[in-house]
């Protein structure tokens, strides 16, 4: 045994490395395949699935027994090929490989080579690269290796977004994404440089305590750098457009996993600070609240369902940040309970959001594939035409609203517990953030509920609002199967949270090793929750069967919907999603700044008019773009320097000489 152990521990690491290689290579064979013909795509999906299995098995083993890690020389300045899989990494690895494997299967039905001969191969190549990059950066224990993985991920994501670069809007969102991600990367450059100077090495380890100045610098740079990737509220500008325009399984990967890499960065960096100042936790917590509330508020006001889902990613990132903030508070107070609840909640929510947001994007993609529109107000009545997609979306919606008995509830419960406990703290004003956080989270939950009732209702219930929606048909099995798997996971985690708790404990320990261990099973009523959840489901099933029996006894008649005496009801008379959200949008108009154009209905016989309301991304369209234009104009003013006159050019040289001579 003693001899065997290091052996298979080593194997664990290499298994994950192999998985990364397989994922990266998955798209390559297809490049030589014919433009038509499905060999390439099937090979790609197969490779990806195999790789994913390796990766998941490896990560699972790593959770079971901590691994030794790999540390090989890597002859680049400051580089070592050092990887290790601790509790935090393992969770992320499993999620990465799960979602990307399901996505690649989904791609078989959603992005058929026969339907996209021009860009199918490119897309699969970059898709594999995204996966590989993410897995690499999550394993990396060397900042250079981390940067490599990070940038591979970022660039591959841009390229897979840009496969449809023949459409202008795609080019625009791609540009915004690229600029944002570059800003993030540069912040990370600076952060790692500071880290190196502070610790004297390129590992993710505070070999010597980091001074307060450097610590603050690292915190701020991390918040900007990783926050941009994660899409924390003021820095979310790239997110809605990119998620809306990318192919849906790429959106699922982006929203489900890619933005979490920013969160991973938070976890990894903050784990270096055993005694963070109190204001760190409070700052992160407040950021989380802002991001959550505004994110969901923006979501409600959208009429493009993929954009709407994208804004919900902003919201959920906010919830995760709240959990992280609680954990930071706990760590600076040395309160292991808060740490366990906060970080456990954040971790679990990372995982859950990956699952249900992946599910939602995949089912949204299924709708898009069937109807070719992203306008919510053109849909409706799809529940009859695409029952399975509708069901999947419903599961995802209930889960994302954090309602029992699905997985979203568990993680939000943990965060709630953390917030309530921190609100119950006696010390000074620390409890204040918690006391504000809990109602904020409640507000977020209620708004999310409103939003998803609206979008589910408008898309799948009622009558079709447009011609093409009427002719929609259910998608093929490649599209449905991955959704089924994800829905299953949502139920599993929601009903048996006790199973995942130990995994979370390991992550918590990896994050704050100095604190005493507090198993979540003890801290949180997970057993109760699964009991209640199970009973709830049981009751519903029983009730349903009774109801059905009752109906069988007294057969129900059918008729049209009661129209309150209106003469000619039609599909267009249905309550549209925008009207559904109108009041709420009004409540938040101070932040959303909706653009409304009302028809002129004055006078006795008003003309036919149309009412439209639209909400842009305030930060991007009202602040950043004008600022950028201003800057460009300012820069253009300098152009006269290069005016083409030789005399001027020589004059510059002369002046330089004079200045330098005076400097001497």
């Amino acid at each position: 045994m003693d001899i065997v152990e290091p052996m298979d521990v080593l194997m664990t690491d290499w298994l994950v490395i192999a998985a990364i290689v397989l994922a990266a290579a998955s798209g390559v064979p297809g490049l030589w395949g014919a433009r038509q013909g499905d060999k390439g795509e099937r090979t790609a999906a197969a490779l990806m699935v195999i790789g994913a299995l390796c990766g998941i098995v490896g990560a699972a083993l790593a959770i079971a027994r901590p691994t030794a890690g790999i540390d090989l020389g890597w002859p680049v300045p400051g580089g070592r090929f050092a990887t290790r899989i601790d509790g935090i990494s393992a969770l992320f690895i499993i999620q990465i490989f799960l979602i990307s494997a399901l996505g690649s299967v989904y791609g078989l039905g959603y992005w058929k080579q026969s339907e996209h001969p021009r860009d199918g191969r490119k897309l699969r190549l970059f898709y594999g690269l995204i996966t590989a990059g993410m897995a690499l950066l999550v394993c990396a224990r060397n900042t250079m290796l981390f940067m490599a993985g990070w940038e591979i991920m970022a660039m591959a994501a841009f390229l897979s977004l840009a496969v449809q670069d023949d459409q202008r809007p795609v080019r625009e969102v791609g540009y915004v994404y690229m600029v944002a991600t570059r800003l993030a990367t540069l912040c990370l450059f600076a952060m790692f440089a500071v880290l190196f100077v502070a610790t004297g090495n390129f590992d993710f380890a505070a070999s010597r305590p980091i001074g307060p100045g450097a610590a603050t610098a690292i915190l701020l740079l991390a918040i900007v750098g990783f926050g941009l990737k994660a899409g924390v509220m003021p820095m979310h500008v790239w997110l809605p457009g990119a998620h809306a325009r990318a192919p849906s399984h790429v959106s699922a990967l982006m929203s489900g996993v890619l933005i979490k890499m920013g969160i991973y960065g938070f976890f990894r960096m903050f784990s270096l600070f055993p005694h963070p100042p109190l204001w760190w936790g409070q700052l992160v917590l407040v950021l989380g609240c802002v991001s959550g509330v505004l994110g969901v508020a923006f979501a409600i006001s959208q009429h493009d369902f993929k954009r709407l889902l994208a804004y919900h990613s902003v919201e959920n990132i906010g919830i995760i940040c709240m959990g992280l903030g609680v954990a930071l508070l706990g760590r600076s107070l040395g309160d292991s309970t808060l740490v366990a609840l906060g970080l456990g909640g954040a971790m679990l929510h990372v995982w859950n959001h990956g699952m249900f947001k992946g599910l939602l994007f995949l089912s949204a993609g299924s709708v898009l594939h069937a109807t070719h529109t992203r306008e919510i107000d053109e849909l409706g009545g799809l529940g009859k035409r695409m029952p399975w997609t509708a069901l999947a979306f419903l599961v995802g919606a209930v889960a994302i609203c954090g309602l029992p008995p699905l997985n979203g509830f568990i993680s939000e419960l943990l965060v709630y517990l953390g917030l309530f406990r921190s609100a119950a703290l006696p010390q000074g004003t620390i409890w204040l953030t918690g006391a504000l956080g809990a109602p904020a989270l409640a507000l977020i939950g209620a708004l999310a509920l409103a939003c998803f009732v609206k979008v589910h209702g408008a898309m799948f219930l009622g009558e079709p609002r447009s011609e093409r929606t009427g002719h929609a048909t259910e998608s093929n099995r490649f599209i449905l199967a991955p959704m089924a798997v994800l829905a299953g996971i949502c139920f599993f985690v929601g009903l048996l949270p006790g199973v995942v708790a130990p995994v979370l404990d390991r992550a918590v320990r990896a994050w704050a090793p100095e604190l005493s261990e507090q198993p979540l099973v003890v801290l949180a009523p997970l057993a109760w929750v699964s009991l209640v959840g199970g009973l709830l489901l049981l009751a519903l099933l029983v009730g349903a069967s009774l109801f059905r029996r009752n109906l069988r006894r007294k057969p129900a008649g059918t008729t049209g919907t009661w129209d309150c005496g209106y003469v000619a009801p039609g599909p267009t008379m249905q309550y549209s999603s925008s009207s559904f959200a109108q009041t709420l949008v009004g409540l938040f108009s101070w932040a959303l700044r909706p653009k409304v154009s009302r028809p002129d209905t004055r006078g006795l016989f008003p003309h036919a008019g149309a009412f439209t309301s639209h909400v842009d991304d305030v930060v991007l369209d009202s602040i950043l773009i004008p600022a950028a234009q201003l800057g460009t104009r300012a820069v253009h003013w300098f152009r006269w320097v290069q005016r083409g006159s030789m005399q001027a050019y020589l004059l510059y040289i002369l002046l330089t000489l004079i200045v330098l001579f005076f400097w001497r």
């Binding site: 006159s645 005399q647 001027a648 020589l650 001579f661």
Partner: protein, 213 residues
């Protein structure tokens, strides 16, 4: 013979001012040529005793600076049929004043630099500075391409004067290299001048500002 150095340098400086002040291209070119000849003589004066290669250098210098290049330039303006410089970017008078100021400044500047004992009190360094400065002025203020070539020549003259301060130190081939490169540079410029004339039917640099932001 060493006592000739100072007066000759004064003449060089006067030529500088003349170059800045005058507008007729021919006069400008001739002035630069004369300056070249004086430099040739200076070489002899600065260097005690006639070495064989000293004489050689003097002859080559005088030939290139005083005959060959001016000849080419004169031919160029004859072909291009241009006689005088149009008003420079800043008028002639300001040019003159700037030149005079520069000369004064270079005298002061040379003072800040510690001189080797054999050069103490010699005008060589300030004269070199002043001439380079003049060259720059011509380059930056004149409109005609020819005039800029002349400016470049004057600058090279200044550098040459600087070179005289360490005639002993400089091995032979570098001297030759200087002249050679000077020659080739001007030669290529001459070719380009001809091209310019053919392409734009004038030597006015106003035509040469198509490439810009």
């Amino acid at each position: 013979m060493h006592n000739l150095v100072a007066p000759l340098l004064v003449v060089v400086l006067l030529f500088n001012l003349f170059l800045l002040g005058t507008s007729r291209l021919q006069a400008v070119i001739n002035a630069s040529a004369a300056q070249g000849v004086i430099l040739g003589i200076l070489t002899l004066c600065v260097h005690e005793g006639f070495g064989t290669w000293m004489v050689l250098i003097t002859i080559v210098t005088i030939f290139v600076k005083g005959v060959l290049i001016p000849g080419m330039l004169l031919r160029a303006i004859r072909d291009a049929a241009i006689r005088r410089e149009i008003e420079p970017f800043i008028g002639f008078l300001p040019c003159l004043l700037l030149g005079a100021l520069g000369t004064g400044a270079s005298l002061i500047f040379a003072r800040t630099l510690p001189l080797a004992k054999e050069h103490v009190g010699s005008l060589l360094v300030p004269a070199a500075m002043a001439t380079v400065w003049t060259g720059f002025l011509v380059l930056t203020t004149r409109r005609k391409a020819i005039n800029q070539v002349v400016g470049y020549l004057v600058m090279e003259n200044g550098i040459y004067i600087m070179g005289l301060t360490l005639l002993h130190a400089m091995p032979f081939m570098v001297e030759m290299g200087v002249l050679l490169d000077l020659f080739v540079a001007i030669f290529v410029m001459g070719i380009i001048l001809n091209h310019i004339r053919r392409e734009f039917s004038s030597l006015d640099t106003a035509h040469l500002s198509a490439l810009k932001e």
